[in-house]
Symmetry: C2
Subunit: 192 residues, 2 copies
C-alpha cells in the first residue's frame, strides 16, 4: 500500500535495536482517517472469504482491527494480556514471548467469543518475529475455528516472522513490508 509506505517514510523514525517508531499515526496517536483507509484495503484483500470474525490482541492491534471491521461489518475479538479479574468464564490461553519487553505473558480469549464455526481473520499493527501472531493462531486452533489469513499494517521482513508463517501455508497480507531499515533508509519489499 503505497500510501502507507510513504507515510512511514514521512513520519516514522528508525531507532537502534530495529525499532520503528510510528507513534504519530499507528500506536500512540491514531490517524483515524488513515486507519480507515488501511481497514478498507484489508477488507478488499480478503473480500469473498466469508470471514465472520476478526481476532487481534491488545493494545495496538485494536484500532486497525476496528477499522477493518467497519468495512467487513463483522465483530472484533481482542485477546487480553494476562488474566483479567473481569474474565471469569472459561478461556483459551497461550503463552507469548515479547522480544520488545523481554518477558512472557499470557494471551487470553474467552471461549464465549470464539468457536469451531468461526472463519477468522487475524489482524495486528506489526509483524516482526511473529510471536504474537503465532499465539493468536494457536488460540484459533484451540477453538477449532478456521484461520482464513493474517493482515498487518507493517511487516519487518528482515525479522522473517511473516515468511515463516507463509512457509506454513498461511496467507499473510502486509500493507507494507520493510526488508531493511536504518536511520537513513527504509527499503520496502515489492508486492504484486
Amino acid at each position: 500500500m503505497k500510501a502507507l509506505e510513504d507515510k512511514i517514510l514521512n513520519e516514522g523514525t528508525v531507532l537502534p535495536g530495529d525499532i520503528l517508531k510510528v507513534g504519530s499515526f499507528l500506536n500512540h496517536q491514531l490517524d483515524v482517517a488513515f486507519l480507515l483507509e488501511m481497514g478498507q484495503e484489508i477488507a478488499r484483500l480478503y473480500q469473498g472469504e466469508q470471514i465472520n470474525k476478526i481476532l487481534t490482541i491488545e493494545t495496538s492491534g485494536i484500532a486497525i482491527a476496528v477499522a477493518a471491521a467497519a468495512f467487513m461489518k463483522i465483530p472484533v475479538v481482542f485477546a487480553k494480556k494476562n488474566r483479567s479479574s473481569n474474565i471469569d468464564c472459561e478461556t483459551y490461553t497461550v503463552k507469548i514471548h515479547s522480544y520488545t519487553h523481554n518477558n512472557d505473558y499470557d494471551a487470553v480469549v474467552s471461549k464465549a467469543f470464539l468457536n469451531a464455526q468461526d472463519r477468522v481473520l487475524i489482524i495486528d499493527d506489526f509483524l516482526a518475529n511473529g510471536q504474537a501472531l503465532g499465539g493468536l493462531l494457536n488460540i484459533v486452533e484451540q477453538a477449532g475455528a478456521t484461520t482464513v489469513g493474517v493482515a498487518v499494517a507493517i511487516e519487518k521482513g528482515f525479522q522473517h516472522g511473516g515468511d515463516k508463517l507463509r512457509e506454513q501455508g498461511i496467507r499473510v497480507e502486509s500493507l507494507a513490508i520493510i526488508d531493511s531499515m536504518d536511520s537513513n533508509t527504509i527499503k520496502y519489499r515489492e508486492q504484486a
Copy 2:
C-alpha cells in the same frame, strides 16, 4: 441512548462487587457496528465544539474513541499505561489508582501529541469513580490544552465519579447512566 440501555439489559451480566460484564460488545468482543452507532451519537452531542483531538486510555477506551473519531474526522491519542520502552521523547505522566486491580499505574502521553492549542474530548468505555478520567484531565491540564468535555459509554452513577466531575463544571456525556444494579435489575438515570 436507548439502544445502549437495551443492549446492556440483553447482553450484560452483573456480578458481585459492582462488576458489570459487557464483554460481548464493549471490552473483549467488540460489536463494531454498534460501536459506530455510539461513536456517531458522541459526535452528535459534541458537534460545533471545534474539537480537534480525542484523548483516551488503553485498552478498552480505544475502540469507542476510534468510532467517535471516524465521525468527527479527528485523530485519537491514547495514554499508555506504564512507560513503554518505545516512548523515548518527553512525556506527560500521571499516577492513577485502579480500584479494579487495586494498584497504581502511570498513564503516559508523549508531549509530541498534545499541546496548548488542542481542544480535547476525553473518551472512555466506563466511568465509575472517575480515577482514569481524572488522570486524563490532569494530562490535558499539563499540556495547557482545553478539555471541551468527557464522553463515555457507561457511567456507574452510583459510584458518583461522573457527578463529581459535573460539580467541577466539566461537561460529561454518558450514553447510559446506571443508578443501581444487581443480578436482577438495572436502573438507569433519566437523561434529557
